[in-house]
Symmetry: C2
Subunit: 373 residues, 2 copies
Amino acid sequence: MKITIDRLRLLKVLNTVSIAIGQKSPTPAFLNFKFEMFEDCLAITGSNNDLTIRSVLPLKEGDNDIILSFDPGATLISSKYLLEIIRRLDGNWVTIEIVDDVIAKISDEKSDFKLNSMRVEDYPELDMDIEGDKVVFNADDFKKIVSQTAFAASNKEVRPVLTAINVKANGNQMEFIATDSFRLSKKVYNTEEEYNFEVNIPVKTMVEVAKLLENGMVEMIVSDRKAVFKYENTCIYSRLINGDFPKTSRMIPDSYPYVLQVSAENFISAMSRVSLLAIERENIVKVSITREELEISSKSDQIGSANEKITDFRYAGDRFDISFNVNYVIDAIRAAQSEDVILSFAGEMSAFRVTAPNDSSIIQIITPVRSYY
Amino acid sequence: MKITIDRLRLLKVLNTVSIAIGQKSPTPAFLNFKFEMFEDCLAITGSNNDLTIRSVLPLKEGDNDIILSFDPGATLISSKYLLEIIRRLDGNWVTIEIVDDVIAKISDEKSDFKLNSMRVEDYPELDMDIEGDKVVFNADDFKKIVSQTAFAASNKEVRPVLTAINVKANGNQMEFIATDSFRLSKKVYNTEEEYNFEVNIPVKTMVEVAKLLENGMVEMIVSDRKAVFKYENTCIYSRLINGDFPKTSRMIPDSYPYVLQVSAENFISAMSRVSLLAIERENIVKVSITREELEISSKSDQIGSANEKITDFRYAGDRFDISFNVNYVIDAIRAAQSEDVILSFAGEMSAFRVTAPNDSSIIQIITPVRSYY
């Protein structure tokens, strides 16, 4: 195998593919890029078994050469070293050549690297079929879905299914739900075609796909074994997470007798100030609402107390007190992506809802805590 | 004590003074700002005993009020909480008031914080005399002295004196020397007045002072007990480090039969590429020089080899090989702050020198290592 290739184009692909490659692996071959130079394109694959990314570079793009010259072949090359070398080289073109079967020679006019490599036969067989239900998203829509839900997923492996986003398609409506069991974020997305499936996609996959997207469209193809995302010349293959996602509908109260509408920015900045003195209290703050006054407070015997008043708000309901983890509420308000937010309360110890006045597609539920004063 | 003060002016002073305040201290009072409201100014002090910073804010600056109203008095206020509160408040003016003797009330129109505080009597007595030899530096000169020497000091406490910059004044010439015993950086600075002293100032103090300076002049006042830096309304008091600084002159060879002149940028980028494959070899690279060829290489049985050739250079001397820690040489070349650098070698196992062609004020010495191939 020998390739002379546009260095910056190669670098972009290596950066993308390397997302799937870990720092450590029980399978040493997974610490490598897999290069496959075909007659008409170069395919580069990275994987950690759970997540696989494969990008394909054509020989030319319009009139511009991407690959200047080549001999077909395949090899594995250490991802850690190759990525850094390609990043730091000076030249516009770089040549990668396999010499003596297991040495990858990377060179430009000034530099000459020889990396000990592995044979392509050592790379595990991967399931790279693309079959299943195909949903096409606008890249911006997909990024918004992820930014509005992913933060609510669990980052602990105790209950693996909570580290997924639950994607449920029913007719023309698709729901994306994430919950760490203390809070929940649910995004509704309408599709032109009708679908019927339910899968748990690792939140990490969703976040990485959203980060990779620039603009245009992305295809999501789900089967009962995996989810595949296709974007430009790149395919991202992700395992699914087994297990039943919790029945979240019973976490959501039916009626809300206390409803507050307030500026997102004012509420966040007041809460973040008050929470300064709640650090040793697990960031719990208390909100007291009457029709006249919205008060946010926290108290610590050791440190002191904090108190904020907001005068510009709308409230329907009786006098009401509730305490919660301020970070959950700030996350939820940010995800609402709205100038004003509506907080709907069912009772002092009932889960409450955060919504945006003009966007019914996003609903967030947060569990309160018992007040300590 | 009660003060209503311009919030952003207060914030800037708190940021400066907080540099001297640690996260932990055996003396709890040292985790506080000391506020002293006098009839004509507010003084704020922070200290960790080794380093003390005191800034003074006047009531007015020109026609602009800094302090709108006040009752004189003094108190201690938790640095950690006060700094964050002042940072996050919204208002232009903030009021700090001591109520019930030990509660600091911090408020603006929207917010109201009460912090449990300590009495000013609990603050340790600090030596804040300003006596000794006074040297005045242009801020830019001082920053350059620090950036050209500080990196070469040791960051390990095993030999405390090596964590200092040795400042030696003799007549009109002042030397600043830092060494971690593997490399040395020496800056010569000429003064109009004559001085005669030698002190070891903690490198951390020098770095913090350099960071604080914006422009204008800074005074350095040294005695046998401490160094004081005066800049605008701020005084920085630093302990000195006891012990004899090593006699560095014998580390510097007398003659250099091998002299290389090369572009700093080309040499650094070639070395940093080659060093990619030297990570597991303590960043040791080898340089081989003839009049025709400047070659930089590294080799690892496990990973592979790297080789760079530089064609644009000047060299006087016989064929010569030397191996060194690439990070030391890159640091030294950067500190030379020159387009071209001169590396002067005395022998394969002798210390070598890095200098700038047009600046004899900065000399750097690096110890090589034995080549492993």
